[in-house]
Symmetry: C2
Subunit: 208 residues, 2 copies
DNA sequence: AAAAACCCTTAACCTACATCAACGAAAATT
DNA sequence: AATTTTCGTTGATGTAGGTTAAGGGTTTTT
């Protein structure tokens, strides 16, 4: 299904406005010249995703790294028993991708799916390498972003092995208040590493 | 306890040889000039650690990033109940540090302890910033290393939430054969996210 | 408007691993 | 060499969260 870039439903703002959102994000983290802003803006393509549409899919090569400008994606893993595990949610101004597959051209171990109609700026590995050559300051940006992702995942991992589901739930609500309005409850259960039935039971208990 | 740099027991090789080990590691990943090699070698300090000695400690600021040239460290987290959880082991040619604390000067959420007498090349955040300024190509190296760490942790996390202890144990042995000769069994249990008693029982079962 | 798909809840039962306690062997420390 | 600490094992018992099954509500699709 090929949707026009001009479709006002999918793109309530124009392309330049979305790209400025990315430029803003970058400028807050490193210094970039007007010339570099232009190069960056040109390197990314604007794409829209309908609810349930995939950004990339497990088993296929993930040749996309996305900056979410609007909407929400869930990034998840399907295990050998067919169960899904949410690695993280990508909201506005977050990145979504599978670093491993993106950098090695090996099949991705993750899928990313829109939880609602969403818009993202995307780039492929070749364009990204070119971009890094043209704007070397971005090496620093992506190092810092990756470090941040690593520290977040590290905390999450340690919480997962050291705390029970109730504690992990409380931590999530504390860190992301309002997430229960953005994401269906069974997806939250998946993020917490438990079944929807268990989360339902847990929340009932917590009301006492 | 101040140990002399000349102590032949602690340093079977000389300082230059250890630094060359780091330079070799770097040169295999990015291009560096002879001049840059010298700058890098000068930025790091050689330090020795007796068995059980800490490289850095949870609750204190981690102002150390270490490249292990010999020996083994365990990097672990002590939870609110006082239980220890191994995040990873750092062997020869691995890095050990707490990125979050190192970059933010906040108290570390991790400890690193030598499992045997070990030797490492260490750097502090200020020296590292200087080094990155003098050798910008290292931005790329550390971006790539951090990406690698992130993908490894991601796999580990997803395995932890999707597989049981037996499957995680088999995966560890497959990926790191010989680890059982390097690390005591209760540390392996901690890495797997189970108690030593459970691992012992599990291995007995597996023999059938 | 009807049908289908999706989502949440509850209940009975089950299992992987934790907890607690005790023992002997090995290794480190004196 | 003696003492202490560390390490691995085994057994009895407990529990968080998984499993299975079923019901009803809500949203999406036709």
């Amino acid at each position: 299904m090929c949707t026009s870039v001009k479709n006002p439903y999918l793109y309530p703002m124009n392309e330049t406005a979305y790209k400025n959102q990315l430029i803003e994000y970058i400028a807050q983290r490193i210094d970039i010249s007007p010339k570099e802003r232009e190069i960056i803006a040109n390197a990314y393509s604007l794409k829209s995703y309908k609810k349930k549409q995939f950004l990339f899919e497990q088993g296929h090569i993930c040749d996309i790294e996305a900056f979410v400008v609007s909407g929400t994606f869930r990034i998840f893993y399907v295990d050998t028993k067919g169960l899904e595990h949410v690695l993280y949610f990508a909201f506005k101004d977050w990145w979504a991708g599978d670093i491993a597959s993106f950098n090695s051209s090996e099949p991705s171990g993750l899928s990313a799916q829109a939880l609602e109609n969403s818009i993202a700026l995307v780039i492929d590995p070749i364009k990204k390498e070119e971009l890094l050559k043209q704007v070397p300051a971005l090496e620093r940006l992506f190092r810092i972003i990756t470090q941040k992702h690593l520290t977040v995942l590290q905390k999450r991992f340690l919480l997962t092995v050291s705390a029970n589901a109730v504690e992990r739930y409380n931590e999530l609500i504390k860190r992301s208040p309002g997430i229960e309005q953005l994401v269906p409850q069974h997806q939250i259960a998946s993020y917490l590493g438990i079944l929807p039935e268990s989360l339902s039971r847990m929340k009932k208990q917590l009301l006492k």
